[in-house]
């Protein structure tokens, strides 16, 4: 047991809400946190950035009482505290909006907010009226417009995020930790989120804002702290720093450019989709477009615009109602992922956890799973061939793993993504369907993935890349297809377009 003591105070105009000093935490084989300091002021947004594995999440979990720090002090409003479990942290007004939403989707919105602490009538039944009123009040305060009586499963990701934030604030939160709150929000939804964050600021909350999206940080944060390799590198007022400085601090080296140079030149038509519609996503209709060899076609669109459904339909992971797929002029029946892979397609899915990784299997198995046919004779795997290819993938994609026998769940998100990329490299596809290929990945790894995508295009492969990050689409793609409510709102040349045009198109069929 570690006790926290100390009477340190940092005087400023803003009173200090939370002060953490010299917190360390070691896991077997890694020093996840090394004497980290952090100070959060009242009524401010404190951004916390760093590459994956820099220690941001570990630090938050230590503050929140999920992990126990090996050493260090923590003070809340000048009083030393030491939480042994999240409940205590919540009771002290420290709340967290997790990256993965932990909601009971079958329950109603208001039930989710008050779960575990329902106001009771006579100590027996839940006081439904109070639940509803309290929920409405919080929503009104934060200008959230959601019906508290709807079931959570009926809501969009962004609405669910709002509920989490409302829930956080309902604990009379002093500190709200937001871990990648915008990773699945469209730009419009991000704007709403920021409005809510500003409301919370006015109420005197301190917000710790973790994000990989640096543009965002510069539009919402007051202070920014950069972590690297478990150490706190620097804390600056937002006015005193710019994006390039932050990136340099994060990666510990200078990244001249966030995007590699586009060296690919689109050639002949490789893929043609004609009038595709999906059975179980009836909003998707009349999808027709072409993709050229060596071309990177970006797909943009708001949350719910059915971007994912399109690539999954092409890959045969979703059932198509109608439509034809032509590759090099010849018709392709991608009726299942299995046949699509044979037809030289690859699909990198959006939700790594749901349908990307096999968490309990080794890195090696995760890399080789789609290509087993090529290693097999009469169903028996030739281990030598597998090992050779796997070690080549690990080397060429720079996957950071102690060995190929480590379970993939022990790798960071960026490295998991590289492993799945590697899986698809081995099947040597001609057409790569990449759904949010850089989601939840740090800047350095992102750059490597962009580079890889451009290299693949250089080799003459056709690439379709869905992304919610506008700079990424503008930086990497040749053309951008904009989806709106299940239909194609337009296809624009990246050179000739801008953010405004794309947003306008995205709203075309709403």
């Amino acid at each position: 047991m570690i006790y926290l003591i100390g009477d340190k105070l940092i005087m400023d105009n803003n009173p200090v809400l939370l002060h953490v000093e010299k917190v360390s935490k070691a896991f077997p084989g890694v020093q996840a946190l090394d004497k980290v300091n952090l100070t959060v002021q009242k009524g401010s947004v404190h951004a916390l950035v760093g590459e994956n594995g820099a220690g941001k999440s570990t630090l938050m979990k230590c503050i929140f009482g999920i992990y126990h720090a090996d050493e260090g002090l923590m003070e809340l409003e000048g009083n030393p505290v030491n939480f042994t479990d999240p409940k205590q942290a919540l009771d002290h007004g420290i709340t967290m909006v997790h990256q993965e939403l932990n909601q009971v989707s079958r329950l109603r919105v208001m039930d989710n907010i008050w779960l575990g602490r329902f106001p009771m009538k006579n100590g027996i039944v839940i006081d439904e009226k109070k639940v509803l009123e309290d929920t409405k009040k919080i929503f009104k305060d934060l200008e959230i417009n959601i019906n508290p009586l709807l079931k959570v499963e009926k809501l969009s990701v962004s609405d669910r995020q709002m509920i989490e934030i409302a829930k956080a604030s309902s604990y009379n939160a002093k500190i709200i930790v937001m871990d990648e709150p915008t990773s699945s929000l469209s730009e419009k939804e991000v704007a709403h989120l920021f409005k809510v964050i500003r409301k919370l600021k006015e109420k005197g909350c301190g917000i710790i804002y973790i994000s990989h999206k640096l543009e965002e940080i510069f539009s919402i944060a007051d202070e920014v702290s950069v972590m690297r390799d478990g150490k706190m590198i620097s804390t600056k007022n937002i006015e005193d720093i710019n994006i390039d400085n932050v990136i340099t601090l994060m990666v510990g080296r200078k990244l001249d450019n966030r995007f590699p140079k586009k060296t690919n030149t689109p050639g002949d038509v490789l893929l043609e989709i004609k009038n595709m519609a999906l059975v179980y996503s009836p909003l998707v209709k009349d999808i027709s477009f072409t993709l050229r060899k060596g071309e990177i076609l970006g797909i943009s669109g708001l949350e719910g615009s059915m971007r994912t459904q399109i690539v999954e339909g092409i890959f045969g992971y979703r059932t198509r109602e109608s439509g034809k797929i032509f590759v090099n002029g010849k018709e392709c029946r991608n009726n299942s992922p299995e046949t699509s892979i044979k037809n030289k397609f690859a699909l990198l899915t959006e939700e790594r956890k749901n349908n990307g990784i096999f968490p309990g299997m080794s890195v090696k198995d995760n890399i080789s799973i789609s290509n087993l046919e090529k290693y097999c004779k009469l169903g028996v795997i030739n281990d030598e061939k597998v090992n050779k290819d796997v070690s080549q993938v690990i080397k060429s994609l720079n996957v950071k793993t102690p060995s190929d026998k480590v379970m993939i769940r022990n790798l960071s998100g960026g490295n998991q993504q590289k492993v799945i990329f590697g899986r698809w490299m081995l099947t040597s596809p001609d057409i790569l369907l990449l759904d949010e290929p850089t989601r939840g990945i740090d800047v350095g790894a992102k750059y490597e993935i962009y580079q890889l995508i451009i290299e693949l295009a250089n080799e003459g492969k056709g690439i379709i890349m869905i992304s919610s990050e506008m700079p990424e689409l503008l930086g990497v793609s040749n053309r951008i297809l904009v989806m709106s409510n299940g239909q194609i709102a337009g296809i624009v040349n990246t050179e000739e377009t801008n953010q405004e045009e794309i947003l306008r198109l995205a709203a075309k069929y709403l």
Binding site: D70, M361, I369
Partner: protein, 341 residues
């Protein structure tokens, strides 16, 4: 008040490592402790003959456990195992009675021993495959599909037993059949040899074939397996097929070993087989397990069955001990998968 020193942290870390190592090898430790306790009570327990008995008796159960293990890796279970054994036993026995038996069911039926065995192996394989088809094509959970199948099988076996076999235990089996199970090869009981071969085959399938890799992929994450081009339906059906083969074979061995069959034979075997897998570290959540764990799991149960009777522990107490070990094993195993914090 205390800031931990480097040594303290290092000490804590070492404790954790040791604890993990103990956890990971818990079943071996349980087996070892059992043997030590039994030996302390009665030192004559440690003899080659006793272990020969244990392994021989464990053989059919081993084959059944290996059969169901694949289904458990798919996050399913099979409640029909015992009824497969009954079906296989009754059908194979009815065809393998001694020709001089006056009550012979099929007079003059003189088949070489491998034909009825092959027949029940294929029959059980086919029926189990139907389970696989029900699970994949009709989206019925394995629990329900196999529960239903166990009733159907019991009904079918009993009907055959009543109408064809005259509702009397099928005994006086031909020696070629009994010696197939009871015989030995240079002193090594045939049953042990069969079990060993099947252990080897299953190890090979799980570790060296595409089928094995796909099996674990599906058990780990069905959706990811779909996207990765794994043929889910085919893989699952083949796993059920293999399970059925093994049930059928085990049933034939069981009747050969005991010398007679009734329609109730095999009743309750499914729970032993599933329990042995679970004790051996196959997770009911799917995607986790290895062959040697299952082998040890089966042996633990047999050591309890045989060894504790050997030192005169009451058979009722045996059930209590077995039950406690199942729970304990799963509890220890579960610790590996709870999120470490």
């Amino acid at each position: 008040m205390v800031e931990l020193t480097k040594e303290d942290i290092e000490k804590k870390r070492k404790h954790r490592v040791i604890k993990n190592r103990l956890m990971n090898n818990a079943i071996y430790i349980v087996l070892f402790v059992l043997i030590v306790i039994i030996t302390l009570v009665d030192p004559t327990f440690l003899s080659i003959n006793n272990f020969k008995f244990i392994f021989t008796q464990a053989s059919t159960r081993m084959i059944l456990a290996l059969g169901v293990s694949g289904i458990i890796v798919l996050a399913g279970c099979d409640l029909a195992i015992g009824r497969f054994v009954g079906l296989s036993a009754v059908v194979s026995a009815s065809m393998m009675q001694a020709l001089d038996n006056p009550n012979i069911i099929f007079p003059g039926l003189d088949l070489p021993v491998f034909i009825p065995i092959l027949l029940v192996v294929l029959l059980c394989g086919l029926i189990s495959m139907i389970d696989g088809i029900i699970v994949t094509k009709l989206s019925v959970t394995a629990f329900i599909a196999t529960l239903g199948m166990s009733m159907i099988l019991y009904g079918a076996t009993s009907t055959y037993y009543e109408k064809v076999c005259g509702a009397a235990p099928i005994g006086s089996l031909r020696t070629s059949f009994t010696s197939f199970a009871q015989g030995d090869f240079f002193g090594v009981p045939n049953l042990i040899i069969y079990a060993t071969i099947i252990i080897a085959i299953m190890w090979f399938i799980w570790n060296k074939t595409r089928l094995g890799r796909n099996l674990f992929a599906i058990g780990n994450n069905v959706e990811a397996a779909k996207v990765s081009g794994v043929n889910i339906t085919k893989t699952i059906i083949i796993i059920y097929l293999i399970a059925g083969f093994l049930y059928g074979f085990a049933g034939a061995l069981e009747v050969g070993r005991t010398g007679s069959a009734t329609n109730n034979m095999g009743n309750g075997y499914e729970l032993d087989a599933i329990a042995a897998c679970v004790v051996g570290g196959v997770s009911l959540m799917g995607g986790v397990g290895n062959i040697f764990g299952i082998v040890v799991g089966v042996i633990i149960f047999q050591v309890i069955n045989y060894g504790l009777v050997y030192i005169s522990v009451s058979p009722y107490l045996l059930y209590i001990i077995k039950g406690a070990i199942v729970i304990l094993a799963v509890a220890i195993d579960a610790q590996k998968y709870v999120t470490r914090k």
